[in-house]
């Protein structure tokens, strides 16, 4: 199969690679770029374990072709923390026990990150609706919602203090 030349910006870093036209973005991220944070849970867009951010939107990378992502700016879970510190959402998920087996967590946090860009002060109901594309089998969501609410308040408080 003729390969396509794909250029991406992933977590701020330019990447170039050759991919088959049918190759999925999740496989490019996990197997070629070794970014194994995003996981595969269903390959049918239902579970959200593969969620990454593409051009400012949450996408399920198991049903995005690498070819569709050509030229895109992508953020994965690996792009949220710095080498020295966790992102506030990552800290908050730990603080409020928003994860157990950890398999859904990268997709969950990446989605929550986008949600808070779209709606910086969501209500519990808005979080439950905004996170409904990401399944979790362990937590029953209650502590995930709590984690996101707490992270939102922390981010907003920090911004107010800065202003």
């Amino acid at each position: 199969m003729t390969k396509m030349h794909i250029k991406l910006t992933v977590n701020g870093k330019p990447e170039e690679l050759l991919a088959e036209p049918r190759e999925l973005l999740i496989h490019v991220l996990r197997e070629r770029l070794n970014l194994t944070g995003a996981h595969i849970g269903c390959e049918t867009s239902h579970c959200g374990a593969c969620t990454v951010e593409m051009n400012g939107k949450s996408v399920k990378s198991c049903t995005v072709l690498a070819a569709q992502a050509n030229g895109a700016v992508i953020t994965t879970i690996e792009g949220l923390s710095t080498p020295d510190a966790l992102h506030v959402l990552q800290r908050s998920f730990r603080e409020h026990h928003g994860l157990q087996c950890g398999y859904c967590t990268p997709g969950m946090i990446t989605r929550a990150h986008r949600l808070l860009q779209e709606n910086p002060a969501p209500t519990e109901e808005e979080i439950r609706f905004g996170m409904a594309g990401n399944l979790c089998r362990c937590t029953g969501y209650q502590n995930i919602v709590k984690s996101i609410l707490a992270a939102a308040s922390e981010i907003n408080a920090a911004q107010e203090a800065a202003e």
Partner: protein, 805 residues
Amino acid sequence: MNDLSPSREERIANLKGLGCSRKRVEDVRFTQGKGNYVDDIKMPGMLHGDFVRSPYAHARVVSVNKEAALALPGVLAVLTAEDLAPLSLHWMPTLAGDKQMVLADGKVLFQGQEVAFVVAEDRYIAADAVELVEVEYEELPALTDPFKALESDVVLREDLAGQTAGAHGPRCHHNHIFLWEEGDREATEEVLASADVVAEEMIYYHRTHPCPLETCGTVASMDKVNGKLTVWGTFQAPHVVRTVASLLSGIEEHNIRVVSPDIGGGFGNKVGVYPGYVCSIVASIVTGRPVKWIEDRMENLMATAFARDYWMKGRIAATKEGKITGLWCHVTADHGAFDACADPTKFPAGFFHICTGSYDIPVAYVGVDGVYTNKAPGGVAYRCSFRVTEAAYFIERMIEVLAIELGMDSAELRRINFIRADQFPYHSALGWEYDSGDYHTAWDKALTAVGYAGLRREQAERVEAFKRGETRKLLGIGLTHFTEIVGAGPVKNCDILGMGMFDSCEIRIHPTGSAIARLGTISQGQGHATTFAQILASEIGLPADSITVEEGDTDTAPYGLGTYGSRSTPVAGAATAMAGRKIRAKAQMIAAWLLEVHEGDLEWDVDRFAVKGAPQRFKTMKDIAFAAYNQAIPGIEPGLEAVSYYDPPNMTYPFGAYICVMEIDADTGEHEIRQFYALDDCGTRINPMVIEGQVHGGLTEALAIAMGQEIAYDDLGNCKTGTLMDFFIPTAWETPHYTTDFTETPSPHHPIGAKGVGESPNVGGVPAFSNAVHDAFRAFGLRHAHMPHDHWRIWKIANQLGLHG
């Protein structure tokens, strides 16, 4: 001691031991996407395996033509039963005393069954090659109903032809697997014949699936030069997998290393041994290269490890005042094509005979007939101890049906039949010894917390308003008081493939006063690295933050039977405490030498040994650890290590009281959970934060099962629920808010009194949700309706009761 010394309370807090809501150590990795799951493993030269699966539920395999697949560039091998037969690996033993085809041997018995294994350079080529394997089938009649299967002339298991007995006794029909009985049938039937009241009902607990977010998979790597096989996989019991791999392959056990890396949820799905595991190992041996096999979601739902599928016929007898006098139950158990239930060997129906529940029932009988059908094999304990959730659902539904028969409030009916606190240890009519409990206290606390009397008044008013046409919404109050049996189990009666169900912990204290503990279990999200360190911290007085916990690598961890059936805390947790006590015993000898006193003159105080009556003279565990490595102490070996293999004297019996308040729309069948209160008593509480998280998660799995999740087949044996579009998993939007509560009745036989909690919310949650649905319609004459209670089925209940006018 001067004023700057930390107080006793500060020293206890510093340990982060028992009872502390310690933040999880696992989370720093997981939140950054730095977990290491099986599909994250990448090795040089690694190949990918993929299955050709049967589209038919029952068919003869006439031929398999590999040519086109093998001609595809990048395909290395296509394995069939013929290729595995010379190695005797075309069939494998199941955990239930049956055998199962690894690859179709002459016929297929369920849709999705493994027919051929393709090995290729990458997963795309493997998937292409699967399409190129030509299999010719000759369709046979499919049996999907266990009752019909027992009457049919169609023989499913031709390999068992003429065998009138199986692993669990006589077989009465060619599609029959076993009849397993417990209790006193004659005495129970006598009680039923002369009782004031007998309530009878058929209760179906439908087929469903554990569906962890991570599917099953392996990476097998055979190094032919040094003869070592390494297998990474989604294994809830890695040590048993190693033993099975050795027995099947003939490779000596020391040459096999099995590793369970991070596991993305198990819930029973990852207890069994699947054809993919065997095929990836064989493929690695054949090719000499590492082979990865990861199933996709459809394969997971169609082929690996269903749960439940129990048809439970019940009869319960009582006096007219409501005192239960006897319980009778017969189960028709649909085991699918092979009996691959994951139960201890001697228990083909698991611990289903816990079905007398929380009640003092003088006489009881249970019979379970296992049946072959053209459905996937499995029968795993989906977030419950072996068949315990079926038992809890059965008794909690029977109580409700009996309450209807008696015209009684079911909360009161439960109360007058509970085993009293002074009856423990309690011997049940079906042979169990319940270790401890205080059901009345828990029940009263729960009823008070939700304002039970007020809810019943509101419900009565609602019924009247409904009848007057003022509302279309009904109110259901779902009650449950469950008793679990977990922590298998005493080695004398519990084993898996002959391996006694003990568990283990090995501790090494480092010279500077930190430690590593390794266990025979494996976390799949339960947070063992956090909580087992807490048990140890309280035992040996080193901070939990200074203790690393490792599991899952058979080369380093002590042998254990793994994590399922809520056995980690009851068994491995006990081993951890016992190993800790061995450390402390040696530490006491070292401290005595350092302080120049007799051992008996020392007492343990949080993190140190102090001289009795002179607390200023002490040695901390940290001091002692260093001394263990740098002092020549007469009569004492250097070092500070211990190992414990713990064989529990009994199982543990966690219990709880759950109440679900549900609004139901009679016209749409939609429901809304207004309130869910869950009181759990899991004995000593190790980490309240982790317990609460387990309860939230288990309740949500229970919600799924009760309200919509199922593995359904059509009459031809086609699986109708093979994707997450059809197989219900609640999202954050559909999941209610839960209120958790507790009482604390320690287990008298467990070293720290802990009982295990992970599965309680599923066991208790399913009847609580289901009873709420039933309760909403009780005033209109509903006795029983089968789960799952999705909108369509609830609408049908309302319709059949004539509520649609």
